[in-house]
C-alpha cells in the first residue's frame, strides 16, 4: 500500500488530533426500530448503532468501580450474496462511527485494534477481575493487520504514528525495538475473518499481530479529550457527560481503551459489522474524603446526567448490588426501585444487578438530573482523622478525631507515634466529646501509655485505651513545639517538610458473616483461617476467649506533613565568620582593657592640648 514518510504521518496524526471529527448526522428513528427488531429478523443491512452503558460496582474495600462502555456498530458488509468487495468500501460513509478511526483502519489495513491507556494498578486481590479486558499499567497497543501486500511492517509504523497524533500520546515510541509478534498469548477477538471471502480460499489469509506497550506513559486529560471526541454525543449528553477529567484522574485506578473488532450480527454470521468499543474504567476511593462508604453519581463525578444521548440505542446505568445478609450492614439505593433488577451467576457467585434505563428516565422531556446514590445504614462504623492545628513554624497542635457511629459504646485503642522533632506537651492533652471539652478524661480514656521522645534517638508514643461513647466524635488534642534542627539533619528537600506517619485505631467488632464495607476485614479473616491452628492454641492458653471472638479492625488516619523551620543552607561560612568576629571583638577589646593601664598623654604642645580639651568640654 502507500508508504508514508514518518514525518508526514506524524503531521497528519497531529491534524487528526485537533480536527473535529465529523459529527454523525442525526440518527434516523427507522434505524433504531430496525435495531430493536434485529434479534428476531436478520436484516441484510446492518445499520449503525450506538450503545452506552455505565456499570457501577461497590468493591469490598469500600471503593467504587465505574466502567463506562460505549459501543458503536457499523455494518461493514452485506451478507454474502450482497457482498460488494473489500470491506474498505464501507468507509466512505460515516454516521455514528468516528471517521478518524475508520480512516486509520482503512489506511493501514487494520482488522482489529486494541489500545489501552492505564494509570495505576488493578488490585486483583481486592477488586476481583476487571470488566475491561486490558488493565496493564501504561499504554498497551495491539493490532491484527492484513498482510496481503506484505506491508504490515510499514503499516504498523504508520498506525502507531497516527494513533500517537490522534490521542496525543507518545505511541510513536512503539517502534521496532519494542514491538513484538506474540504467537500464543493473543487471539482474534473478532468473530470472523474480515478478509476471508467465500469465493477465495483465504480462510487463513495472512494476518499479522503486532503488540507493543509503553509502561511509563502517563495518562492525562490530553488523552481523554480526543477519546471523548470519538463519541457521537461527545460529553454533551448521556452517560458521557459524567466524564470530568479532574475527578477521573483523581482515582486509584484509571483505564481508558479503544477496541475495534469485527463482529457478527447474527448467529450464522451472515450479517457482519465492525464494532468500536470505548471504555473507561476507574476505581474511586470514596472513603478517602470523609471515611464514609456512601456514594452518589454527583459525588463521584461532580457532574450530572441531565439528558440521555439521543443517538444512543440503549443507555443504561447498571449497579452491581453489594451482597448483604439480614444481620449485617444494610444499604439503601436511590432512586429505588430501578427499572429492572436481575441476578446473574450461579448460586455462590450470584450477583444482583439493578438497571436504570436513561432513555426511559428522559422519555418525557424532563431535564432533572439523574440522581443515583448508595447509602449505608452504618456507613461510618469507626473512622479516624488526624490533622495539625496552628500556624507558623514555631509550634502547633495535633488533633485526632475518632468517630463512633454505633448505637452503643465501643472500646478502641488509639496508637500514635510522633517523631522526636515534635516536642509534645502532655500537660496540654485534652479530650472533647462531640465538641464539648471533657472534664474527667477517664470517662473516655481508660488507660494511657505515653513514652516521651528522646532527641535524636526515639519517637514519642501515645497509646490510649478508649471507651468511645455511642454516636460520638471524640477529639484528642495535644500541642507541641517544633524543634530547630541542625542543617545536616534536614532532608535535601527541606522545605517540603517531614512526613509524620499515621495513627492507628484498633477496635474489636462483633464478627459478622459476609460483611462488606469494613476495610481489610476479609483479609484478616483469610489470615486467621490460614493460621487457625495457631489461633486456637492461643485461645486455649488465653482466658479471654470472648474477646477473640471478635475481629480486630484497624482504622488508619492520614499521614501528615509537618514543615519545620529551616535555616539558610547557604550560610555556614558566613555564620561562622560573623559570630567568630563578634566574639573576637569582645575578647580582643577586653584583653586590651585588662592588660593595659591608663597613662596621661604627654602633651606635645600645651596649646594644642588646651584647645582640644576646651572644645570638648564646651
Amino acid at each position: 500500500m502507500r508508504r508514508f514518510p514518518d514525518r508526514i504521518l506524524l503531521l497528519s496524526g497531529a491534524l487528526l488530533c485537533f480536527a473535529t471529527i465529523s459529527s454523525p448526522a442525526a440518527a434516523t428513528s427507522s434505524s433504531q426500530h430496525a435495531f430493536a427488531a434485529r434479534d428476531t429478523v436478520p436484516v441484510l443491512h446492518a445499520p449503525e448503532a450506538f450503545h452506552e452503558q455505565l456499570i457501577l460496582k461497590p468493591m469490598n474495600d469500600g471503593s467504587v468501580y465505574s466502567h463506562f462502555q460505549f459501543t458503536t456498530h457499523v455494518g461493514t458488509m452485506m451478507d454474502e450474496e450482497h457482498f460488494d468487495g473489500a470491506a474498505s468500501n464501507i468507509f466512505t460513509h460515516y454516521n455514528l462511527f468516528p471517521r478518524s478511526i475508520g480512516q486509520i483502519l482503512h489506511s493501514f489495513d487494520v482488522e482489529e485494534l486494541h489500545l489501552t491507556f492505564t494509570q495505576g494498578r488493578w488490585q486483583y486481590g481486592d477488586w476481583g477481575y476487571p470488566l475491561a479486558p486490558s488493565v496493564g499499567t501504561g499504554v498497551e497497543l495491539s493490532a491484527w493487520m492484513n498482510d496481503h501486500t506484505y506491508q504490515a511492517e510499514a503499516n504498523w509504523k504508520g498506525l502507531t504514528n497516527t494513533l500517537s497524533g490522534l490521542f496525543c500520546a507518545s505511541l510513536n515510541f512503539i517502534d521496532d525495538t519494542i514491538s513484538i509478534e506474540p504467537k500464543m498469548a493473543f487471539r482474534h477477538e473478532g468473530l470472523y475473518n474480515v478478509h476471508a471471502r467465500a469465493n477465495t480460499s483465504s480462510e487463513n489469509a495472512p494476518r499479522k499481530l503486532r503488540y507493543g506497550s509503553l509502561p511509563h506513559e502517563n495518562v492525562c486529560t490530553e488523552n481523554l479529550t480526543p477519546w471523548i471526541k470519538l463519541l457521537p454525543c461527545k460529553n454533551k449528553a448521556g452517560i458521557a457527560s459524567l466524564l470530568k477529567s479532574h475527578k477521573l484522574f483523581d482515582t486509584r485506578f484509571y483505564s481508558m481503551a479503544v477496541h475495534v473488532r469485527p463482529v457478527c450480527e447474527d448467529e450464522l454470521c451472515r450479517v457482519k459489522s465492525l464494532e468500536l468499543t470505548q471504555t473507561i474504567s476507574t476505581v474511586f476511593d470514596v472513603a478517602r474524603q470523609d471515611g464514609s462508604y456512601d456514594w452518589s453519581l454527583s459525588g463521584l463525578f461532580e457532574r450530572e446526567i441531565t439528558q440521555a444521548c439521543p443517538l444512543a440505542s440503549t443507555s443504561n446505568v447498571i449497579v452491581h448490588l453489594p451482597q448483604t445478609t439480614p444481620d449485617s450492614n444494610q444499604y439503601q439505593l436511590g432512586p429505588y426501585p430501578p427499572h429492572k433488577t436481575y441476578t446473574t451467576g450461579a448460586a455462590d457467585n450470584a450477583q444482583e444487578i439493578a438497571v436504570y434505563d436513561l432513555r426511559k428516565t428522559y422519555s418525557n422531556e424532563s431535564s432533572t438530573p439523574f440522581q443515583l446514590s448508595l447509602n449505608w445504614e452504618n456507613s461510618r462504623p469507626k473512622s479516624a482523622h488526624r490533622y495539625f492545628t496552628g500556624f507558623g513554624q514555631e509550634r502547633g497542635g495535633l488533633s485526632i478525631e475518632v468517630h463512633n457511629s454505633d448505637s452503643q459504646d465501643r472500646e478502641a485503642i488509639l496508637l500514635d507515634t510522633l517523631p522526636w522533632y515534635l516536642k509534645l506537651y502532655l500537660h496540654t492533652f485534652s479530650v472533647e466529646v462531640n465538641g464539648k471539652p471533657l472534664a474527667n478524661q477517664k470517662d473516655v480514656v481508660k488507660k494511657m501509655f505515653y513514652q516521651q521522645a528522646v532527641d535524636r534517638s526515639r519517637p514519642a508514643v501515645l497509646e490510649l485505651a478508649l471507651n468511645l461513647p455511642a454516636n460520638s466524635m471524640v477529639k484528642f488534642s495535644i500541642s507541641f513545639d517544633k524543634v530547630f534542627l541542625k542543617y545536616t539533619e534536614h532532608p535535601p528537600d527541606a522545605n517540603r517538610g517531614f512526613d509524620v506517619g499515621y495513627a492507628v485505631v484498633t477496635a474489636p467488632l462483633p464478627r459478622q458473616k459476609g460483611q462488606i464495607g469494613y476495610g481489610g476485614l476479609d483479609h484478616s479473616r483469610v489470615y486467621q483461617g490460614r493460621d487457625a491452628s495457631l489461633v486456637e492454641t492461643r485461645q486455649v492458653s488465653s482466658d479471654t476467649i470472648a474477646e477473640d471472638e471478635r475481629d480486630m479492625i484497624r482504622v488508619y488516619t492520614e499521614t501528615l506533613l509537618v514543615s519545620l523551620p529551616t535555616p539558610d543552607f547557604s550560610m555556614p561560612y558566613n555564620v561562622i565568620t560573623l559570630t567568630c568576629t563578634v566574639i573576637a571583638l569582645f575578647f580582643g577589646s577586653m584583653f586590651n582593657l585588662l592588660t593595659r593601664d591608663f597613662q596621661e598623654e604627654e602633651p606635645t604642645t600645651a596649646k594644642d592640648v588646651k584647645g582640644k580639651g576646651k572644645s570638648k568640654v564646651e
Partner: protein, 460 residues
C-alpha cells in the same frame, strides 16, 4: 545616705511595681504571648516546659530519664495491663527536661493555681528590687569613707544613684517586666545571684556562698560569681592569711551547699538523671531553638565534625574572663559581678532578656562610672533597635515566611554587639575612673590654668 532629693519613697515604688505586674498578668493574652517569645523563654527557662515537668512528675513519670507516662485507672483490661507493664523503661541519655529538680519541687504544690504562681513571680521581682535597694545602701556606707575624686571645676564627685532609683530602674525595666510576665524561670536564678551579692556586701559568708551555690545549681554559669562575692566578703579585710582562710571557708561552704542541693534533688526525683539533663543541655547546647544569643545559629550551621571543638571553645570562653577581671578590678567587686553577669548573659548558650534584666539591674550600682562612658548613646540605640526588631524579624521568618533565619540571626548579632560595647565601655569607664583616683588632677597646673577633667589619656 544620698543627698539627692527623691520624690518617690521605696514603698510607693514597690507598690507601683506590684500593681503594674498584677494588672498586666490580668491581660492573659499579653502574658501568654510573652511566654511564647523566644527572646523571653528559652528551653532552659520556659515556664511551659516547667509545667510539663511538673505534670509528668505529678503523674509519677521520672521527668528526666525519658520514662513512660503510664496512667492506669482502677478498672482496666487485665490483658492490656500485662502488655503495658511489659514495656521496659529504658534509661537513655536524655535531654528531656532541662530544669533543676528543685524548681519542680517549688512549683509542684502551686502550679494548679495561676494566681499563686503569678504572685511568686511578682514577689521574686520585688525581692530583687529590695535587695538592690539594700546593696546600694551598703555601698553608700562604704563610699562614705572612701577617697573622693575631685572633678572638673574642683568639685567632688557627686554620689551615685540612690537605692530607690536603682530599685526603680530594675523594677520598671521593660526587660524585667517582660521576663516576669513571660514567667521565665531565670528570675529565680537572678534572685539567688542578687541575694548572693547582697549577702556578700553584708559580709555574711555562709548565706552569700549558699545563694551563689543556689544560682549555680539553677543555671550553672553563676559559679563564676564566687570570686567577686569572695572579694566583697574580704573588703578591707586584713592580711593575706585571713584572706586565705576565708577563701578556703567560702569554697567549702559553696561546695557543701552545692552538694546538699544536689542531694536534695536526688531525694526529690530519686535519680541522678537530672544531672545530665540539666547541665548537659546547658553545656552541650543541644536544643537549638533560636534566642538572642550567638550559639544557636552557629551550631545549626556548624559542620558536624567541628561542632565539639567550637562547643568547647565557646563554653571555655564564657568562663575565661572570671579570674582576669577579678584580679584587674579587685577594688570593684560590685562591678566585677555586673561584668560577669553581662558576660554570662551574652555568651551563654540560652540567653534571654531575663539575663539582660539582671545585668541592667546591677549596672546602676556602679552609677559613678556613667560619666566616663563614651558610647552610652550607641548602646542605648543598639538595645532599642534589637529589642524592637527581634520580634518583628522572628515573625517574618517563622510565621509570614517572607524573611528567613538570617533576619533573626542578624538581630541577635546586633544585640550581642550592643552587649559587648556595653561591657567594653563600662570596663573602660571603671578603669578611667580608677586612673582619676590614682593620679588625681592637680588643683592648679603649672601654667596657672585649671586643668580639664577629661584629660587626654592613653592606654599603655
Amino acid at each position: 545616705m544620698s543627698g539627692s532629693t527623691s520624690v518617690a519613697t521605696p514603698a510607693s515604688i514597690f507598690t507601683a511595681a506590684f500593681a503594674l505586674r498584677l494588672a498586666l498578668f490580668h491581660l492573659p493574652a499579653l502574658a501568654s504571648t510573652l511566654a511564647d517569645q523566644v527572646e523571653i523563654s528559652t528551653p532552659i527557662t520556659s515556664f511551659k516546659r516547667l509545667s510539663e515537668g511538673v505534670f509528668l512528675f505529678r503523674n509519677g513519670v521520672p521527668p528526666y530519664d525519658g520514662g513512660v507516662f503510664h496512667q492506669v485507672c482502677a478498672k482496666g483490661h487485665a490483658r492490656a495491663d500485662r502488655a503495658f507493664s511489659g514495656a521496659k523503661t529504658d534509661r537513655l541519655f536524655n535531654l528531656l527536661l532541662s530544669k533543676a529538680p528543685l524548681l519542680l519541687g517549688l512549683f509542684y504544690p502551686i502550679l494548679s493555681s495561676p494566681l499563686l504562681v503569678n504572685l511568686l513571680y511578682i514577689l521574686g521581682d520585688l525581692a530583687i528590687g529590695y535587695m538592690l535597694l539594700q546593696i546600694t545602701a551598703i555601698k553608700d556606707q562604704d563610699s562614705a569613707h572612701a577617697k573622693k575624686i575631685r572633678q572638673y571645676g574642683g568639685q567632688l564627685e557627686s554620689p551615685g544613684m540612690d537605692g530607690v532609683t536603682v530599685a526603680a530602674l530594675y523594677l520598671f525595666n521593660p526587660f524585667t517586666i517582660a521576663s516576669c510576665l513571660g514567667r521565665s524561670t531565670i528570675l529565680y536564678s537572678n534572685l539567688a545571684v542578687v541575694a548572693g551579692i547582697w549577702m556578700g556586701m553584708k559580709r555574711n559568708q555562709n548565706l552569700a556562698m549558699f545563694n551563689i551555690a543556689l544560682a549555680t545549681y539553677l543555671s550553672l554559669y553563676p559559679a563564676m560569681l564566687t570570686i567577686p562575692v569572695w572579694l566583697m566578703l574580704n573588703r578591707e579585710a586584713g592580711g593575706y592569711s585571713v584572706q586565705k582562710k576565708t577563701a578556703a571557708q567560702s569554697a567549702s561552704v559553696f561546695l557543701l551547699s552545692l552538694g546538699s542541693l544536689f542531694l536534695l534533688s536526688f531525694v526529690l526525683v530519686d535519680s541522678w538523671d537530672f544531672f545530665v539533663s540539666v547541665y548537659g543541655t546547658i553545656l552541650t547546647v543541644s536544643d537549638l531553638t533560636p534566642n538572642l544569643g550567638l550559639f544557636w545559629y552557629f551550631f545549626i550551621e556548624m559542620f558536624d565534625q567541628f561542632r565539639p571543638f567550637f562547643l568547647v571553645v565557646f563554653q571555655i570562653h564564657v568562663f575565661t574572663f572570671a579570674i582576669p577581671i577579678s584580679i584587674k578590678l579587685r577594688k570593684y567587686p560590685l562591678f566585677v559581678s555586673f561584668l560577669l553577669c553581662t558576660i554570662m548573659g551574652s555568651f551563654k548558650g540560652y540567653p534571654s532578656v531575663g539575663d539582660a534584666s539582671l545585668y541592667l539591674g546591677l549596672l546602676p550600682l556602679s552609677s559613678e562610672i556613667f560619666k566616663y562612658m563614651r558610647y552610652s548613646f550607641l548602646i542605648v540605640n543598639l538595645f532599642l533597635y534589637s529589642s524592637l526588631l527581634a520580634p518583628i524579624f522572628w515573625y517574618l521568618w517563622v510565621y509570614v515566611g517572607s524573611g528567613n533565619a538570617n533576619f533573626f540571626y542578624a538581630i541577635g548579632l546586633v544585640y550581642g554587639i550592643g552587649e559587648i560595647i556595653l561591657m567594653i565601655d563600662t570596663t573602660f569607664a571603671v578603669s578611667r575612673r580608677d586612673f582619676e583616683l590614682l593620679s588625681p588632677v592637680e588643683e592648679v597646673s603649672a601654667d596657672g590654668t585649671k586643668p580639664d577633667w577629661d584629660r587626654k589619656v592613653i592606654q599603655k
